[in-house]
Each structure stands twice: as C-alpha cells, then as structure tokens.
C-alpha cells in the first residue's frame, strides 16, 4: 500500500504531495502567518520608537557635558526619557527628582552626628543620601538603556557631590594639622605626589565612563570593607586588643618619670635614595621606600576620588604601618596628602568630566553636618561606643549587600 503523503512534508521523492484542497488551505495559512508577522514587526517598530523616542535636540539651557548629553537623550514621559515639559529637578533637568531640602538637611544632621561619634562611616552615609535617600541613583540608572551617556554624566555628578561634601568637610582638620608643622616632609612629598597623581588620574580615566550601576556596586564593596573593620572592632578579639593597648599605654604613661622639654629637633634627612630615604626625628632613625609611599598615596587618592568618600582615614594606618612614625607626625603628613588629593580630584572632576554641581544642595547638607557635629559629642556619653559600632555594622552590611547586588546583579537582595 502506497503511503499517503502528509501535507507539508517532503515525500521520499522530494516533492510535497499535497492535494489541491490542502494547497489552498496552506496558502491561506501562509497569508495569515505573514500578516501576523507583519503586524508584529510594525508593533515592534512603533513601540521601539516610542521607547527610544526622538532625541531632545537641544541642551534645555544646561551647560557642558550635562547639556550635551540631555540633547542626545530621548524625549518622552517614560523611564529613561526627558520630559521637556516637566518641572525642573536635580541640576535643572526637567522631570528629575527634586531633592526635598528638609530631607537633605535632616539626613545631613545624621551624617554630621556619625562623623563625631563613629567617624569614617559618615562619608558612607553621605553617599547613601545622594544615591538612595534623595532618589538620584535610581534616576541616573534609568538612563542606562536609552541614554547611557546621560546616565554616566549623572553618575559623575553624584560622585562629585560626594567628593565636595566629604572632601571639603575634612578641610579645616587638614589645615589645622598642617599648621601644627609636624610634617615628615620627605614622606609628605612622596605621598603627596602620589595623591596628586591619583586625584588627577581617576576623573580623567573614569569620567563619563562609569555607569551608575557599576559605581553603586563598587560603593557597596567599599561599604562592606568599612563594615568589616567596624565588625572586627566589636568582636571579643578586637575589643581585647583595644583594651590591652589602652592598658599598656596607661601603664607606660605612669611609668614615665620624666617628660623632657626638648628643643625642636625637627626632621633631618640622613640619606637620600630612590628606594630608601632615611631621616631622624628626635634622634630616632626612620626610613621608608619613596616608591611605596608614592604608590600608596596614589592608590588611596584614587579610591577616594572614585568613590567620592574615604581617604582621610586610610592614610594614617597606611603611614603607621609603612614607616612607624609617631602619630602626630603621621597626622600632619597624611593631612598634606588628603589636601592634595581632595583639591586635585575636585578640580579634575570640574575640568575633565564637566560634572555639574547642585550648590544649594551641598550648602544645605553642610548646614546639617555642622549641626549634627554639635549634637554628636553630647550624645556620646549616653551610647556605649561598642553598641554604636554594632549598629553601624548592621547598617554597613545591609547597605553594602543592597548596593553590591543592585549594582552588579541588577536587583537588590534586600529591600531598598
């Protein structure tokens, strides 16, 4: 019995053996499928044109790279688009979040309070404010697909806002310690040049190139690191180490019979070299590798410039471990590096990235910081240091996890 061919299949002799009625049915189906595909294509074209939108076409009165990026961004009312008819928000961008000055002020009081109670974590919280609390991060991230250039410019603006706020807040302390004149100038020069280089390099290399998601992910990692240090200090081992050091210091102070009023011996360089510089301070010899000091200054300044936070609290432990100098000399020397990297980084961001700044927002935050800094010393005696640190460890883990996951994996693993 001869097999009846199945319509639409290739028969053994290669020819479709459909009957006439089946052929008609096949043609009709073909038309339907073609029509369906055409409708799909047209729908896709319509939606993609709506999604991408025609570009805004002009800078809407905004200068520099921000204005140029806005001109190229799609116009529209959807996410990742510029609604040219909307009210102006952050940096004068139509439709951008308008940061509530009261929220900014209250958040900055919190930041100022943290600076005077825990210290470095205040910079982290300042960054969290700009990115999450004020809604600027999610807004910048919204441009990733449709207007990545605008998203990156906005990321630079957020980074620079962090830098202005935290960097300038360290200004007075830095100048004060420089005025104290306790500066190991050979070390200061090596570290300072490294800091200048790091502060210059990062805005040039990363300006306009970092998406908000990447910045957020790296910021999350930095928060984890700070949280890790705080966590160690709250562990029994960390607490025991601190208590032992304090007891040893007190015992040593008691044992000192004399405190010589020494003449100002200053710092005397005894040996110059590319790989080693030696100097004496109070008759004691110290030495360091200038290349290592340069590299350290550059790396710390680069981290600080990239994230917009940090730096100040990294130099002292670095110098203490590198050279073992007395704290007071380290303080003055690191102050020079902090000042150098801060000034260079801010100048480079302004010059090379063209990042815009919301001056009134920074001004409002500075008011909050100085009010918070007056409250901090008054509440310190009521809250044990170890419990404060435990609170910030929890915050650091939460924020670090959220930012890391949101930045590198697209969505936060914790409610955020």
């Amino acid at each position: 019995m001869e097999d009846r061919p199945v319509p639409g299949t290739i028969h053994r002799d290669g020819i479709d053996q459909c009957q006439p009625g089946e052929r008609l049915f096949k043609k009709k189906r073909l038309y339907k499928v073609s029509l369906f595909i055409l409708v799909l294509l047209l729908t896709g074209l319509v939606f993609s044109s709506l999604a991408s939108g025609a570009p805004v076409g002009n800078n809407l009165g905004l200068e520099g790279k921000l204005g140029a990026a806005i001109a190229k961004a799609p116009a529209g009312t959807g996410a990742g688009q510029i609604d040219v008819n909307a009210a102006r928000g952050f940096l004068g961008i139509p439709g951008a979040p308008k940061v509530n000055p009261i929220v900014a002020f209250l958040w900055a009081i919190w930041v100022g309070w943290i600076f005077t109670t825990v210290g470095a974590f205040g910079g982290i919280m300042a960054g969290v404010g700009h990115m999450t609390v004020f809604g600027l991060g999610d807004y910048a991230k919204g441009f990733n697909k449709n207007a990545p250039e605008l998203g990156k410019v906005m990321t630079d603006c957020i980074r620079m806002s962090n830098q202005w706020l935290v960097g300038l807040s360290s200004g007075v302390g830095t100048l004060n310690f420089l005025k104290a004149k306790r500066l190991a100038w050979p070390l200061g020069l090596a570290l300072g040049f490294g800091s200048l280089f790091g502060g210059l390099l990062i805005p040039i290399v990363t300006g306009g190139k970092i998406s908000f998601a990447a910045y957020q992910g790296w910021f999350g990692i930095a928060v984890f690191v700070v949280g890790g240090f705080l966590l160690y200090e709250t562990t029994p081992k960390g607490q025991a180490g601190k208590k032992a050091a304090k007891a040893a210091a007190q015992a040593f102070e008691k044992s000192i019979k004399e405190k010589t009023e020494a003449a100002d011996q200053g710092i005397k360089v005894t040996k110059w070299g590319v790989l080693k510089i030696e100097f004496s301070f109070f008759g004691v010899e110290f030495g360091f590798n200038p290349l290592v000091a340069f590299a350290g200054g550059m790396i710390i300044a680069a981290i600080s410039s990239f994230l917009g936070v940090g730096g100040g609290f990294l130099y002292v432990p670095y110098l203490t471990s590198l050279v073992g100098l007395p704290m007071f000399v380290v303080a003055g020397t690191s102050a020079l590096a902090v000042l150098a990297s801060m000034v260079m980084s801010i100048a480079s961001y302004l010059n090379f990235t063209g990042a815009a700044v919301d001056w009134a927002l920074i001004g409002t935050e500075l008011i909050g910081i100085f009010i918070g800094s007056m409250i901090g010393p008054r509440t310190q005696k009521y809250i044990p240091d170890v419990w404060l640190k435990r609170l910030f460890v929890v915050l650091a883990l939460y924020v670090g996890l959220g930012y890391f996951s949101k930045g590198f994996f697209g969505s936060s693993w914790v409610p955020m």
């Binding site: 009165g61 200068e63 100022g112 600076f115 005077t116 210290g119 205040g122 300038l168 807040s169 360290s170 200004g171 007075v172 302390g173 004060n176 310690f177 005025k179 104290a180 004149k181 306790r182 601190k242 050091a245 040893a248 210091a249 040593f252 102070e253 044992s255 000192i256 405190k259 010589t260 020494a262 100002d264 109070f282 008759g283 004691v284 100040g312 609290f313 002292v316 203490t320 007395p326 704290m327 007071f328 380290v330 303080a331 003055g332 302004l350 700044v357 919301d358 001056w359 009134a360 920074i362 001004g363 500075l366 008011i367 910081i369 100085f370 918070g372 800094s373 007056m374 901090g376 010393p377």
Partner: protein, 184 residues
C-alpha cells in the same frame, strides 16, 4: 514672591555699584564672597564654642599621647611606643572627624552664594583681559573668596564679636595646633 526671588533682588544690588559691567561684576563677586566669609566665620564660632570642651579634651589627650610616644622612642621601648601610638591614632581619628563640623560651618554660605551665581551667570564666560582668557562664575568666585578670606583675617582683630572669639582661641588654642606646639 518666594524667598529666593527676594534674595536675588537684594544680592543683585551688589552688582550695580559703578555702572560699568565688568567692574561691577568683579566688585559684586568680591562683596558676595565677603558676606559668605563673614557668615561662615560667625557660624564657625558657634560650632567652636559648642564643642570647645570636647576639642580641648581630645587635644589634651593627643598631646599627652604624643609626649609619651616621644619618650618611648628615646628609651627604645617598642611595646610602649606601639601602645601609646595606637591610642594616639584613635584620638586623632576622633579629633579629625570631629572637625568636620568646623569645616562645614565655614563653607556653607559659599555654596549658597555659588547657587545664586549659577542662577544668574551660568554659561557666561567673563573676559580676564589676558590673552583672551575667560573665566566662569565659579573661578571668579573662588578667587574672590580666597581674597576675602585673607582680607577678613586682617580685619578680624578690629571687629567686636570676632575679636572676642579670637582672644578666646588664643587663650585656648585650636585643636591640633595646640597639641603640636605643646607636645614637642
């Protein structure tokens, strides 16, 4: 009329003194910078007074730790040196971050001045009369602010409230400066 419009109406008068545009711009910016310096110094004095004993205690502790570390160095007591240096590091950290409030109180008026200037002069390039160089509002304000700071430092000893604060500070010097002068 909102408050920003009101402030704008007042500040623009600083830029209408002589009638010559460029001269008025530079004079107005300098006067604006002076106002920012004056307000900043006033709020700094408030922060300093509020935190005076806090800074003094930390400062004193820092000086003691530094003295001890110097003695430890001289008598070559490595364990003692490390212990007091670590304590000094912790105290330095608290003092350094504690001063953030002082910085913030110096600088906040300058940022509002910049915000106002941005609303008026953003995008305008001002000629510097040297080699066709131009300046933005930010650069002219920055230079004016630094000049205003120097000028104010010279005038401060003659201004009633600030003279009093200066005398107080001289009797009980600034943190870290005091430690530096006292310790070694």
């Amino acid at each position: 009329m909102d408050w920003w419009t009101g402030v704008d109406g007042i500040l623009i008068y600083l830029y209408r003194i002589t009638g010559w545009t460029m001269i008025d711009y530079f004079i107005g910016t300098l006067l604006l910078a002076m106002i920012a310096v004056l307000i900043g110094d006033f709020t700094t004095s408030l922060v300093y007074r509020a935190n005076r004993s806090y800074f003094r205690n930390l400062n004193s502790r820092l000086g003691e730790m530094h003295n001890s570390s110097m003695v430890a160095l001289r008598i070559k007591d490595k364990a003692g040196y490390k212990a007091v240096n670590r304590e000094a590091n912790d105290t330095f950290g608290m003092l350094f971050f504690g001063m953030f409030g002082l910085s913030a109180s110096y600088l906040w008026p300058a940022f509002f001045a910049l915000a106002w200037m941005q609303s008026r002069f953003d995008g305008i390039k001002f000629p510097l009369f040297i080699n066709d160089w131009t300046s933005s509002y930010f650069l002219t304000f920055l230079v004016s602010y630094l000049l205003a700071r120097f000028a104010f430092s010279a005038l401060k000893p003659y201004l009633p409230y600030f003279k009093h604060v200066m005398n107080e500070r001289e009797e009980k010097p600034e943190p870290a400066v005091a430690a530096g002068e006292k310790a070694v």
